[in-house]
Symmetry: C2
Subunit: 498 residues, 2 copies
């Protein structure tokens, strides 16, 4: 093989990764400590950094190196490195500069309009910019290229190698199987008091409890830290992986579950091998796989009975007012199912229904099977069909999410992919780890983390999502594991047949 | 004039400024919130950013634009912009890449050795790397070029356009005039108890008090923030100017005076005109002028009697245990003069003596009039001569400062320049503002800030330091204002003749 070309590629790519890390640092600061009036300066800094990264990724030298190397037979890991850098390069190089500039000019305009439209609950304020934005995204799809649907080219940005046809099939099956479960559970749960946990939780004590849980999960504080932001997020990678949380003094749940959720993301980012740092082998496979890690920890572990058998006494000690809430009551309250019209308030059961609505709409929009002007009507229709409810207005309906206003079309499906992958991975882990539930019940989360490390994290982008799932679970993506997980769990909690 | 070339220059320079802002952000984070194990990643990010900035500053296109524009007659402001960008470009372009790389490789090695040498108080551990580092700095001087002394080329990095001959003359006069004042004051002060202020000051209350003082000074919290770091510093510029402090729970003074000091720096960085942002007209003139702002606020204002007439009641309210310390006692305690061997512990009177020692030594080293091996002996000799004391060992003597180990040769003089400029500026301000002392005594710091804004801050680099000082004070740099300031102030405090 061509050692010099490969090393040259690796060195150039490392600088591109560093520019990404810097961009992530600037974003973290923007959302945590930055003085409010620095916002314009920061925007210029961010676009400079991403511009330089784009320039370097699409440079002629980079193109030549990749062309040379992709013609050579390489060992597995190096071949994956070249494959993934080439994927990034080809995608970035295929979109002309003027279009990239227009897209980035569009973003603040569209989000500004979206904010206004949402405030006034008037979709018509947002409509024309969304039409224009979608037009640009369709142009992107044409430049990037696709086999079957232009929507494929957009999904590919967030979930590489995934096809809309496969998504449509899996999501269709999922919707069908989920519908009776949702119907039954929302009915049963309406009998339980979901406000059981509303009381006063001093934020300083929340912080200590959540950090203690994060440490038990295996989050490495020497390579991370926890701060506060308006919306929780995980940023950075490798030796600098930071979490932000949002605390609610009257409700423990938002902070608690976002800390476990972000902890799951962070464990993934901290789980790459040092020898692979600065290459695609130290990068997440896809947003769907990333989300599988956060949801596995948040829902499958963090909302499970064994987990709270281990940690509920610590929670009660931190908040003595919880001593009159039994473990059963607590466990039910953190697994309360309801058909809210708002995605971010949804539980793990109804959540995917929200995604199906968005998936169907954005797919049809990109495939020119639907008009932007029809979004509100179709949105409400789909909510009736999937959740049996209708949003009171567009603000709580089709205007609730910022994603489309940021040009993120093809992003929503990764949330539900996260749920499906997480259940499929957890089933495989359960088979391979002797008494996984037992160890969780003893507060020992190490066996699970070490399984995730060696079966998922440590590979980085060595395998594509589909190859990884097959390798780890013996089969391709399937909704069955998730459905079975829900049935088993909620039959137990509410003592019903699902 | 060539409008296109000028605009092109401005646009290119703006990106270089942005890269500097990003570097400053990375440095701020490194010293405040960065997880400890991210230190290697951060080093790579920082050197990438400074490498890109250097590349852009020294690019052929930049060189051509500057050549074109420097031949054209331009209006005052534009001429200054071109002059200062050209100065940066010429300096950066004159030093060959291999030398820059060697210098930056040298820095961690030299600081590592310095740390060890200081720990063991053994100069010989540091000697050979310092010799090598000085050799490299002399090479820099040769590449940059100079008229009289190679030391000029090194000073110029921190104090543009300053010459060592002028420094030697001014510092010589200063030393002669300062010597009897130091002798007298250290003797008189030995009768006063300098530990008067040692007690418990809860850090949370210190924070509130210091922020309140910073706000009264005019520090804009919408464009800044205050954090904690091991060594206080000010970072950033324009709409993002951050201060860090260090708090000592048993002594109010370190936090208090570093907050006023850093506040002075920050006011300068926040004081440029929006219309000049991203050009040299929104940059400080020199480190000496920068230091004049911090020292004016810290010493001339913050250690003055009128200032504490206004703010001492607030301090006493914050710390009720201070109610048995009179204003006189407090004012004396914050103006206690002593001949310590350690520069960072020095007061405003003896401080410059520490600088004279370093100035003489580094000048002689660069001009090949002295050997590195003789530093400890010369150091101790000069301390005897200037301060009448001898350091107990090299750790408290010639190994006390990190500067030379970081390649900062020619930096020390800017500290004393700060003292001299500050007194000279303050005299001019006193003449022009009606009853400046009176307004400070009423807690009204606005007249002073607005004078500094319109006479110094708002110009950025429009004038060189010497031109600015002449314009503002009617004369060139002189040690007399500082000497007279000391004589008047300390004669009053200690009721003696100076």
């Amino acid at each position: 093989m061509n050692v010099k070309a490969y090393n040259d590629l690796i060195e150039r790519y490392a600088d591109i990764v560093r520019l990404g890390q810097i961009g992530s640092m600037l974003m973290w600061d923007l959302n945590t400590y930055m003085p409010p009036e620095a916002v314009d300066m920061r925007g210029d800094q961010q676009s400079l950094v991403s511009g330089i990264a784009h320039e370097r990724l699409t440079s002629r030298e980079m193109g030549k190196l990749l062309e040379t190397l992709s013609k050579i037979e390489l060992p597995l890991k190096k071949a994956a490195v070249v494959r993934e850098i080439k994927r990034n390069h080809d995608r970035a190089a295929s979109i002309p500069r003027h279009l990239i500039r227009e897209l980035s000019r569009m973003e603040p305009v569209a989000t500004g309009r979206w904010v206004k439209a949402k405030e006034k609950s008037d979709f018509s304020i947002f409509r024309d910019v969304l039409e224009r934005f979608l037009e640009l995204k369709k142009q992107v799809a044409e430049y990037v290229g696709y086999d079957d649907s232009p929507y494929d080219a957009l999904i590919d940005e967030y979930e590489p190698y995934m096809k809309s046809e496969k998504l449509a099939r899996t999501f269709g099956d999922l919707g069908g199987k989920l519908k009776p479960i949702v119907a039954k559970l929302t009915e049963v749960c309406s009998e339980y008091d979901e406000d059981k946990l509303i009381r006063k939780y001093p934020i300083e004590i929340q912080k200590v409890l959540f950090q203690s849980i994060l440490l038990k999960m295996g989050y490495d504080m020497g390579r991370g830290r926890v701060d506060i932001s308006a919306h929780p997020f995980t940023s950075g990678s490798l030796d600098d992986v930071r979490i932000t949380l949002r605390y609610d003094e009257s409700d423990l749940r938002p902070g608690l579950f976002s800390s476990i959720h972000e902890g799951g993301h962070a464990l993934y980012e901290q789980g790459f091998l040092k020898e692979n740092y600065m290459t695609p082998l130290a990068e997440s496979v896809s947003l769907g796989i990333h989300e599988s890690q956060s949801r596995l920890w948040e829902n499958i572990v963090g909302r499970s009975r064994p987990f709270w058998e281990a940690f509920y006494p610590e929670l009660q000690n931190a908040f003595p007012s919880m001593k009159n809430v039994s473990l059963d009551e607590f466990h039910r309250a953190i697994n309360h199912i309801s058909n809210t019209p708002v995605r971010v308030d949804a539980d793990e059961v109804t959540y995917s229904m929200h995604i199906l609505v968005r998936f169907e709409i954005e797919k049809d929009l990109v495939e020119n099977k639907m008009e932007v002007t029809d979004i509100p009507q179709v949105w409400n229709e789909l909510y009736r069909r999937y959740l049996g409810i209708e949003p009171k207005n567009d603000s709580l309906g089709c205007l609730q999410d910022i994603h489309w206003a940021m040009g993120a079309v093809g992003y929503f499906p990764t949330y539900t992919l996260g749920n499906l992958y997480s259940a499929q991975f957890f089933d495989a882990a359960s088979k391979e780890i002797g008494d996984l539930e037992g160890s969780i019940g003893n507060g020992n989360l190490k066996p699970l983390l070490s399984w995730l490390r060696s079966n998922i994290h440590s590979y980085g982008k060595l395998y594509t999502a589909d190859d990884l799932v097959k390798k780890v679970t013996g089969e391709s993506l399937s909704e069955d594991h998730f459905i079975n997980y829900l049935k088993k769990k909620y039959s137990n909690i509410y003592d019903i047949d699902l």
